[in-house]
Symmetry: C2
């Protein structure tokens, strides 16, 4: 029996009970003894029984529903991606349901289960910060279930995805700071298990290297939480001492930059005169804060449009993404505002 292809009948035969007993035991219905439930569940586990996978392969009709899994809806970037997804989905007669994982792997897995049992036609995924193994996705892909990843790139060969050129975005941001005469540039980095964080750090390092500046590991601080409180504390500590004080910050997103800005203000450091500051993602508020924040803009709407367009092609089998996996990389744009201009 192939992995994951065990059916309720297989389990029933093996345990010498009825299929209906197995089904009810798996759903924890009353009227089935705890002992039977335990035996059914153990065997189902052992045989890797997957109701969703079976349901998938048995599906005949389309639901015209697309599932979107995102870390956090509150992120302005993700909300623009969702807008792009919805525009194309609705104009093609599809509805969109969203699940947010709050950056947690367990919620990501249960979101997938929920969506599959709801018979979605395909999935768009930006996985959680906690996700380091990708079996829960690759198993579905093996069953030819349509999935397109966006923003965060999974370690799955041939995964279809849409990302932005984070390396180039970070490189341009740090090059700009160097051109403005800043020299000791801090990088408030993202969680190191995400490819986007790695790429942004590489871009930062390349710009420094090109300028003949040796990277100082003590200036690269991971801010995995990504909230303003965390970056406030980190920045305050880094800039408290006058001796060897850094003179610029490249933050891995705008909320982190905003926290850094508040810390610099609390130390009476002037932006951009004393310290230059560039963020990432162009949040809604970034042009409204004082000074307005320079940032790297990602084409969120276009990411959404591109991802859903590819997903609909997979669903309608208009293009063979399996034999020709597509990895789209979109360009970022550096928005120079007052926080980083001192020439």
């Amino acid at each position: 029996m192939k992995l994951g292809q065990a059916t309720i009948k297989d389990i029933a035969r093996e345990l010498n009970v009825s299929s209906s007993t197995v089904s009810r035991a798996l759903k924890d219905y009353p009227g089935i003894s705890d002992e039977t439930k335990r035996r059914v569940k153990e065997l189902a586990d052992k045989l890797n029984y997957r109701p969703n996978a079976v349901a998938l392969s048995l599906r005949k009709s389309k639901s015209f529903t697309i599932g979107v899994i995102i870390p956090e809806v509150v992120h302005f970037f993700f909300s623009t991606v969702i807008s792009g997804i919805e525009e194309v989905a609705f104009s093609n007669g599809y509805n969109v349901i969203l699940c947010q994982t709050n950056e947690r792997l367990d919620r990501e897995k249960s979101s997938i289960d929920t969506m599959l049992s709801n018979q979605i036609d395909g999935l768009l995924v930006s996985f959680s910060k906690e996700t380091t193994e990708f079996d829960h996705f690759s198993k579905l892909m093996d069953l030819d279930f349509p999935i397109v990843f966006f923003d965060r790139l999974p370690e799955i060969p041939n995964a279809v995805n849409v990302t932005v050129n984070d390396f180039e975005g970070a490189y341009q941001a740090v090059k700009h700071l160097l051109e403005q005469g800043y020299k000791r540039i801090v990088h408030l980095a993202g969680p190191s298990n995400l490819a986007i964080s790695k790429k942004r750090k590489e871009g930062y390092l390349k710009a420094l290297a090109e300028a003949g500046i040796e990277a100082d590991e003590s200036l690269i601080i991971e801010c995995p939480g990504g909230n303003e409180k965390e970056s406030f504390d980190v920045t305050k500590q880094l800039f408290e001492n006058e001796k060897n004080r850094p003179d610029a910050i490249f933050a891995h997103h705008d909320i982190v930059a905003a926290g850094a800005m508040m810390a610099l203000k609390s130390l009476d450091l002037r932006i951009p005169e004393d310290v230059g500051l560039v963020g990432y993602s162009n949040w809604q508020f970034s042009s409204m804060i004082d000074p307005p924040l320079s940032t790297v803009s990602q084409p969120g709407f276009k990411i959404g449009e591109t991802a859903i367009t590819m997903l609909l092609e997979m669903i309608d089998k208009k293009r063979d993404y399996k034999s020709e996996p597509v990895q789209v990389v979109l360009d970022t744009e550096l928005l120079v505002r007052k926080s980083s201009v001192r020439i």
Copy 2:
């Protein structure tokens, strides 16, 4: 035949075709003539055939999935409500799926259809700005389908809902501006069809009346779009002329206040010295802009927690909300920051 209780069999009998033909015609499957599809759909329409309603009444097992319908995920307030919902839902073994309507009635209706065909156990709803009739909700409630409304109060008798005391929140905000010596206070109001907008306007008017100030209708401007561009333009026009210039603004939410702030700055008006400014909703950026924005904070997380708790009680029939409908009103909190303090 009662409204909405027609079945596929009724349609088949009337048209003298098979049930399977009706089913396939309704789903637009190939292999059915256009003429048959037209006849089936016309009759289904005439008989008010509702597959979801029937599916609902036939449902036996729980899906442990809750549907949440919100206008826009990008609103910081809604994202905090969602967090509250998810905390309680997950800890009770439920998953949450979201649909955003983008403030459009047609998307609201199709979101409901999507969620119902996905067999959710109950719905949490904040309806769109376009929604002025509520049949699509009340029909479900008549079938005893569990729904709890939050933030926006529908015109449905006995609807269970959770709102905040917008009247009191607005009253406190404007009273505070008056205490700070501001006299000609503009109200940048929300769309007039929403109860929250009406309540906030009433609170504004009560504070003025108590201070013996006659309301000036030319100072009450509707900003239905709720974006910063709109309020920028409105504010610039209002404050351009020195003659009889207003000296304060109470905005119906913080994005609107932020647009107004940028307009005041562009006119070289000082905040709070020349013009006082109070927003509503306490967005994430409101403490980060310069000057930090005074605002009315709504307990978003608590709204979410309260709404889902009531919904789970409805689902599990632990409490009879039908004979004793509950309308919870939570308190707001005025957060006084620099933008409105000149004494």
